[in-house]
């Protein structure tokens, strides 16, 4: 479901724009609100969450799905860690559906999916390892991410597809941090499927403290 904006009196601590194909890593304190804005529409935002006090207690897509008993993420979804702990809750969602089974693109998986000519194209995993290194994290610490604004429908017969984006310019998703978090983002550079409308664009991050 989609929900709409509310008045806020909190102190803003974050307002950054992530260029197409760039990334971000930073701290989001417990209790604060964290918004991702799809500035131009149909932009996948690959996102990972870590417990700031135990980086091995990281986001887990499959634990999140099992706890909520449903595949898609929207308002009310609790993003869980690999230990089952709540990391963040989606409190507002003007898009209505977000993916967490599609993972991130990598140069190697691009070649598998789209052929040899895509092997040297920029990919999310390259951004993830570069930004993760700023906090001493390595590939071992990368797990299956959330794809905000991405639509990956599954069917009762076991089908899965990357469908055209359900998002549009100005749509946003807002989360409440349930503990101190480190958040790692790749603003997806993928050119070979509809997840970015074949035209990757910037997104905005906003944060308000408790």
């Amino acid at each position: 479901m989609s929900t709409s904006s509310q008045n806020r009196t909190q102190q803003q601590f974050l307002d950054v724009v992530i260029d197409a194909g760039d990334g971000w890593i930073g701290d989001i304190p417990a209790g604060s609100l964290f918004r991702v804005v799809d500035l131009h529409g149909n932009q996948a935002v690959d996102t990972l969450f870590y417990d700031a006090h135990d980086l091995t207690n990281r986001f887990s897509a499959v634990d999140t799905i099992r706890f909520q008993g449903a595949v898609y993420l929207t308002t009310g979804s609790v993003l869980r860690s690999v230990n089952g702990d709540p990391l963040a809750t989606i409190v507002e969602d003007t898009c209505g559906r977000h993916d967490t089974i599609g993972g991130a693109c990598a140069k190697e998986s691009n070649e598998i999916r789209y052929g040899e000519h895509t092997r040297f194209q920029h990919a999310c995993r390259s951004t993830f390892v570069r930004k993760a290194a700023e906090r001493g994290l390595t590939k071992r610490d990368l797990t299956h991410n959330v794809n905000f604004f991405m639509n990956v429908p599954v069917t009762s017969t076991g089908g899965l597809s990357f469908a055209d984006g359900v998002s549009a310019a100005g749509k946003y998703v807002e989360l409440r941090a349930e503990r101190d978090l480190v958040v790692l983002i790749s603003n997806c550079p993928q050119l070979n499927n509809p997840c970015n409308g074949y035209d990757p664009t910037p997104v905005q991050l906003l944060g308000w403290s408790q």
């Binding site: 887990s60 099992r66 559906r97 089974i101 599609g102 009762s156 076991g158």
Partner: protein
């Protein structure tokens, strides 16, 4: 066609096990009771930071479940295992595996002192023990494939999920061919979405065979271009 049984292991329900499976070997898992579940982690033996990537596996093969003749792909685009045969057309890979807290809440906690080897351990606890005795740890966890388990999505707005009781029966099997040398870790604890009010984890038979490398007309190679390319990447790494 080579198919020689090398050895077999009877894995009790609720236990963990691991195995180095070499290229040109296959692992056949056979359910020894209803609603068996085998939660599996897979690593490239040459570099365990290369591991099964369930999202890459599913999106490349346009599937929400694992079934023959899919390949199981690593994060580096390689086929680690191919599903060469199975009596079941659905193996879950999107709902993870159980934690000790689930079991304590539903069945009550146990200790070794109170229950000896009948203690109720989650798949997570069993997997972590096997990882740790091989120098790996919780940073190496990834989404498991849950062999024999079907958790079906509804065609509704939420993608609601439902455990399908009775999906696996005694004798159901899946056979996995290693495409590179792989380190396989598995646990036979019940899936946490299994609503069974009793704790009765089914044992699983694990048999290892010597087999041929995939031929030019192999089913996985013919399944999809993506599956075929993942086999080529595995072959290049062994060339």
């Amino acid at each position: 066609m080579t198919r020689d049984l090398l050895y077999g292991v009877q894995v009790p329900g609720g236990s963990g096990w691991s195995i180095l499976l070499r290229r040109q070997q296959a692992l056949r898992l056979t359910a020894q009771g209803p609603d068996a579940s085998v939660s599996m982690l897979v690593y490239a033996a040459a570099d365990t930071t290369e591991r099964l990537n369930v999202p890459d596996t599913l999106k490349a093969q346009m599937a929400a479940a694992v079934r023959a003749p899919m390949t199981l792909m690593s994060d580096m685009g390689k086929a680690l295992l191919s599903v060469t045969a199975s009596s079941l057309d659905w193996h879950d890979a999107i709902t993870g595996h159980g934690l000790d807290a689930d079991i304590a809440a539903r069945f009550g906690g146990t200790t070794y002192q109170s229950a000896r080897n009948e203690w109720r351990r989650s798949a997570r606890t069993c997997l972590l023990e096997e990882l740790r005795v091989h120098g790996l740890d919780n940073r190496d966890l990834h989404a498991t494939v849950n062999w024999f388990t079907k958790i079906a999505p509804a065609d509704d707005a939420a993608g609601s999920l439902r455990f399908v009781p009775g999906h696996a029966r005694e004798g159901d099997f899946v056979e996995l061919r290693a495409e590179v040398d792989v380190f396989v870790v598995l646990a036979t604890s019940p899936h946490p979405l299994n609503p069974d009010a009793q704790w009765r984890p089914a044992p699983v038979r694990a048999d290892v065979f010597a087999v041929d490398a995939p031929a030019a007309d192999d089913a996985a190679r013919q399944f999809r271009d993506e599956s075929s390319r993942s086999l080529v990447m595995a072959e290049r790494s062994c060339a």
